[in-house]
């Protein structure tokens, strides 16, 4: 069986000429199905750049990225949006919920774009909110929720489509210790139920949840700690 993620010689350059920033310089990475991986590294080392490319939110300057054995380089914008919708769940450090919209509507969002019917959509969104322990908060808007609760809504939104991989860029970066613990418990449960999880973190306690930690230095993978 092919790995869920297979990245070869990935490069990403921002800008051009003298001011060009080489965020990724020939990075290789393989993630097997069901793995739980933490990415660590100094600020500016290229972690977010890597994760954005893995989430199909951005496009590499060169190199190949196979997602579930499919070369994403061959995909056009329309197919990429389909990939993001079906195969990827992305959790941001800053939550990125649609403002002035209820938790339920936020979680339903990917399902709407997936063309899931209303009744089924509601059922699945409620189940996802239940899974993150927010069944009581379905009709609250983001500004009526704490940071930890917002992040749990965002995780519910990421897992509601049953994606092949869940990617999280410093999901606990903006949270206090208790909220962080809750969020990590949810990610642990996701992994336990067979989901592939890749997260970026600065904290060793968070990284300790993962099976494997990858260290990124200057846009390359420097070492793998098991």
């Amino acid at each position: 069986m092919s790995p869920v993620i297979e990245v070869r010689n990935l490069r990403k350059t921002y800008g051009a000429g003298d001011t060009a920033v080489h965020a990724l310089r020939g990075l290789d990475l393989t993630v097997e199905k069901g793995e739980y991986i933490a990415i660590m590294g100094a600020s500016g080392s290229g972690k977010s750049t890597l994760l954005n490319i893995l989430g199909c939110l951005d496009i590499p300057t060169s190199g190949t990225y196979l997602l579930d054995g499919i070369d994403t380089g061959d995909f056009d914008e329309e197919q990429l949006s389909l990939l993001r919708n079906r195969k990827i769940g992305f959790v941001f450090q800053s939550f990125n919920l649609v403002p002035r919209t209820t938790a339920l509507a936020n979680v339903e969002l990917p399902l709407v774009y997936a063309g899931v019917r209303r009744a089924q959509r509601r059922e699945r969104a409620l189940a996802a909110l239940d899974l993150v322990g927010l069944k009581e908060r379905t009709h609250h808007r983001p500004n009526e929720l704490s940071g930890g609760q917002q992040q749990r809504v965002a995780i519910a939104r990421a897992l509601v489509t049953s994606p092949a991989i869940v990617l999280a860029d410093e999901p606990t970066g903006n949270l206090d210790t208790d909220s962080s613990r809750e969020v990590m418990a949810i990610l642990d449960r996701l992994h336990a139920s067979g989901r592939t999880v890749v997260l970026i973190t600065h904290e060793d306690e968070v990284a300790a949840h993962a099976m494997r930690t990858i260290r990124v230095v200057d846009g390359r993978v420097a070492g793998v700690l098991v």
Partner: protein, 396 residues
């Protein structure tokens, strides 16, 4: 995904921020309404003037004294001139009424009122100018011969001086001279810039005695036998007056036909309309900039939201569709309210002018505003939809 879902996003987007949607609607409303209203006022003014002139009849010539030219002397227009215009030499002239006019202050009881036109003339004047009597009677030739102090007043004077009182038979002071009101003229209405009912008519002799003195007439108003006979009548009048005034080169009087008057006035009101149209165009522009502004702000503020939607897998077409529907709904709603407000506004008299709606202006204002709203509501959104999700999410 289905269109209904996209439309639902659009509606939710609008209702989620009522303040923003309300302001946008208001911007479009004001733009549309002001254009419709301004054009209606201009149109109302010009059509009122035209109506009032047309109401006077089309078979009238007005003769007035010409200002002195270099090297020529000016003979005054006299009652004798007027009398000479009716006779066997001018078969197409029906009547020629001598007219003097002045401003006068009238008083009755405790009230006083400044009448803008106090006219002295003969009884034919009423027929020539299509003036009918609403109450009482007109004065007669006999009143002129006896120089009786009788007066027929216009509707405005009647309401100003005699509120709730029947003026007929009452004695009214004109420049402190008592006149007996014998009749009230039927209302003609305002001609936009000037109130045709703010006047009073008395016998020529009495008016000259009391108010104007015996100098030149202000006008001679000639009625031709028919509208078709007007050019002949004009020629006959010219011949007679040239003879009497011994005119060799430039005439010391001026003849204006109702047609010419109409043309002159129409030109004036057209200028007025053009002026108002430019004001309207500017207000359309300003309204348009307002719409543009709020739409751009709205979309820019929401580029992050576009990024979020793209990140969870929204195809470009659905984002485009959502913002297009939002912009359409706002533009249509604001435009419709603006049309309603504009049409409501035309029901009121504005600065003495009764606005007359120009149907094409409704279409113009609506279309321009809707297109501006649509364009600036959806064009920036379509650009944002083309960004990579991460670029949209990072947008400041």
């Amino acid at each position: 995904m289905r269109l209904v879902e996209i439309a639902a996003f659009a509606v939710r987007g609008l209702t989620a921020n009522k303040m923003r949607s309300g302001l946008t609607t208001l911007g479009i409303l004001i733009g549309v309404a002001s254009v419709i209203l301004l054009i209606a006022v201009g149109n109302g003014a010009s059509s009122a003037v035209q109506q009032s002139i047309a109401g006077l009849g089309t078979n009238i010539l007005t003769i007035s004294p010409q200002r002195a030219q270099q090297g020529s002397t000016v003979k005054p227009l006299t009652t004798a001139d007027a009398a000479a215009l009716v006779g066997p030499d001018s078969p197409d002239v029906k009547y020629a009424s001598p007219v003097v006019s002045a401003q006068a202050t009238a008083g009755y009881g405790g009230t006083s009122y400044a009448i803008s036109q106090f006219i002295g003339t003969d009884p034919h004047y009423f027929e020539t100018t299509n003036s009918g009597v609403a109450q009482g009677n007109l004065f007669s030739d006999n009143d002129i011969q006896q120089a009786r102090k009788v007066v027929v007043i216009g509707a405005t004077v009647a309401t100003q001086l005699f509120p709730g009182v029947d003026p007929v038979g009452k004695s009214m002071l004109v420049n402190n001279i008592p006149f007996t009101v014998v009749g009230v003229l039927a209302a003609k209405g305002s001609s936009g810039l000037q109130d045709a009912d703010d006047m009073a008519v008395a016998p020529l002799t009495t008016t000259q005695n009391a108010l104007t003195g015996y100098g030149s007439l202000t006008q001679i108003v000639v009625q031709a036998r028919s509208a078709d006979a007007l050019p002949n009548a004009q020629a006959q009048v010219t011949t007679i007056l040239n003879g009497r005034h011994k005119v060799s080169q430039t005439a010391d009087y001026r003849i204006l036909s109702q047609d010419q008057l109409l043309t002159a006035r129409t030109a004036t009101t057209e200028t007025f309309t053009v002026l108002l149209a430019s004001v309207a165009a500017i207000s359309l522009l300003v309204g348009g900039i307002g719409i543009t502004n709020i739409m751009l702000v709205t979309v820019t503020e929401r580029i992050r939201e576009i990024g979020i939607r793209k990140a969870v897998g929204a195809p470009r077409s659905s984002i485009l569709g959502q913002f297009l529907i939002e912009a359409t709904l706002l533009s249509l709603f604001g435009g419709a309210l603006g049309v309603a407000a504009g049409m409501l506004g035309t029901q009121f008299t504005i600065a003495g002018i009764k606005p007359v709606l120009v149907p094409s202006s409704v279409l113009l204002a609506f279309a321009v505003s809707a297109l501006i709203g649509l364009f600036f509501g959806s064009y920036p959104a379509s650009r944002a939809a083309k960004l990579r999700p991460i670029e949209a999410l990072r947008h400041e």
